[in-house]
Amino acid sequence: MKKLIIALAATAAALGGLSSGAQAQEKTKVCFVYVGTKTDGGWTQAHDIGRQELQKAFADKIETPYLESVPEGPDAERAIERMARSGCAMIFTTSFGFMDATVKVAEKFPKVKFEHATGFKAGPNLATYNSRFYEGRYIQGQIAAKMSKKGVAGYIASFPIPEVVMGINAFELGAKSVNPNFKLKVVWANTWFDPGKEADAAKALIDQGVDILTQHTDTTAPMQVAAERGIMAFGQASDMIAAGPKTQLTAIVDTWGAYYIKRTKALLDGTWKSEQIWDGLKDGILTMAPYTNMPDDVKAMAEETEAKIKSGELHPFTGPINKQDGSPWLKAGEKADDGTLLGMNFYVEGVDDKLPK
């Protein structure tokens, strides 16, 4: 009996290997590993839309298998390795927490190309890619300062990592470029995803007198609360206009599709090489949802800022900028370097919060 089972298993494995081998000759496999579900309405959904665009662009040349809800940690390594063994030519791992797992698997499979989102560890066959979300946050800050009657905005933050701190600072800098006295209240929800808690944070901020809301968490719950209470808000990761048709001013929309197509083309041409890419508005890796629910002059200002950021004329982190305690950080005209931004662990002047350590 035992022998029979082994024989059967071996046959199945051989058949499986054969069939996948046959497929590999016809179509190149470009694989994706997701941290959430593809319908999460935010982060992972944005990646999956990118995957669908990629599939459409190379309809008969590639297939794009994906794994959903892969937990960060040891399981991630197994999942990525399974993808690598199944004959993937290139694997996109789309969460910061997959970083070390991706590095390990990349070392084991030197012929497979790896692309890790938002991380900072690269290798000969491992590239990283990220998006300059802060450019969008700067524009949001400017809009907030124009639209707010009280001069105070609320910011629902997730975890005190550089990415989030950078966003808060960019928002404050944008707002201060319009109204030097603009204040920003920050509430840390300590979660990426908990609709109830995000809604509670939104209510707490509104009850404390903010009249503009922005978020760095993943669900549309804060937008819904803003709509109910009649204040304005910004969307995050996806266009959240459906949750607040009369509430959303704009949203930062992640549009990974163009990048996925560019890298897959390089793979098929044989010109792929490991790079550390940090693209912004000008590259189309993020876009601004339509500027809605605002007067024409505010819209014109936002569009102008967007154009200036795209052309390189404006860098949101340009001095003079002081740190929160008033000590100088950047001299007039000086621009922050990418390294400092990616490791940002301090607030700029005007943020009304104590940064958790």
Partner: protein, 304 residues
Amino acid sequence: MIEAILLTIITAATPLVIAAIGELVTERAGVLNLGVEGMMIMGAVCAFAGSYLTGSPLLGVLCGIMGGALFSLLFGFLTLTLVTNQVATGLALTILGLGLSGQIGESFVGIPGVKLQPIVFPVLSDIPFVGPLLFKQDITFYLSIALIIGVNWFLFKSRTGLKMRAIGDNHGSAHALGINVIRTRYLAVMFGGACAGLAGAQLSLVYTPQWVENMSAGRGWIALALVVFASWRPWRVFAGGYIFGAVGILQLHAQAFGIGVPSQFLSMLPYAVTIVVLIIISHNRRTTLINTPASLGKPFVPDR
């Protein structure tokens, strides 16, 4: 301001109270169902689907209750009829519920929900402060109060309640006395499921009127902890739910207000408070033992 904070606390505490009072009844009958999170999320998706498809949030609430109850029936069949391990089955129920609800809800993601409207009591709702808090709430809040009062009466004042507690304390003796252990337990499990479903409906129709996967975000586990926290007494479940809700909301206000306490510490507070209260309650071992259902989690096979 205080009124606004209290309103937020009520919304946050209501699902915890409802789910916990249901589980309390299940556990009083001697069944440990760790699947509250799974039943809650099934209730949430069924309620949203029902509300969306019929256009009536009230029917949605009903769908949520039924969804939770039907899902708990699966647990009942496995643990009561097939006598599987209750702990393992309950955990499996949670995992299954999270997955199944995601599957059912796939087409509802991103659709704005219809909020369950409050029931306004004329005159009473105009009383300053008290009115908006107590007489201008949605039906789930009134049900949560009714459930606490009703369960308290049922367990300690009614004959059937006494029989059910007898089953929870010693199912062998109860069986010998001619009480139908299995049937009572089925009903208790389904009551727990219905309550968890109602709590889920509150999440997807009142708290945040939308459907997203995993939206219960651990509230089922908090409800389970509340039952122990309350040492199986209904009014303590009520108090515990509100303490937990209040600490969670107040820490957000403390942050927005700019009190210089690290947010990680504040986020931890509700759990820390729970542990402290547990210690205070459990220092008297005898009263704890009196309230704990002695047959909790033990399998029962009728000998004849």
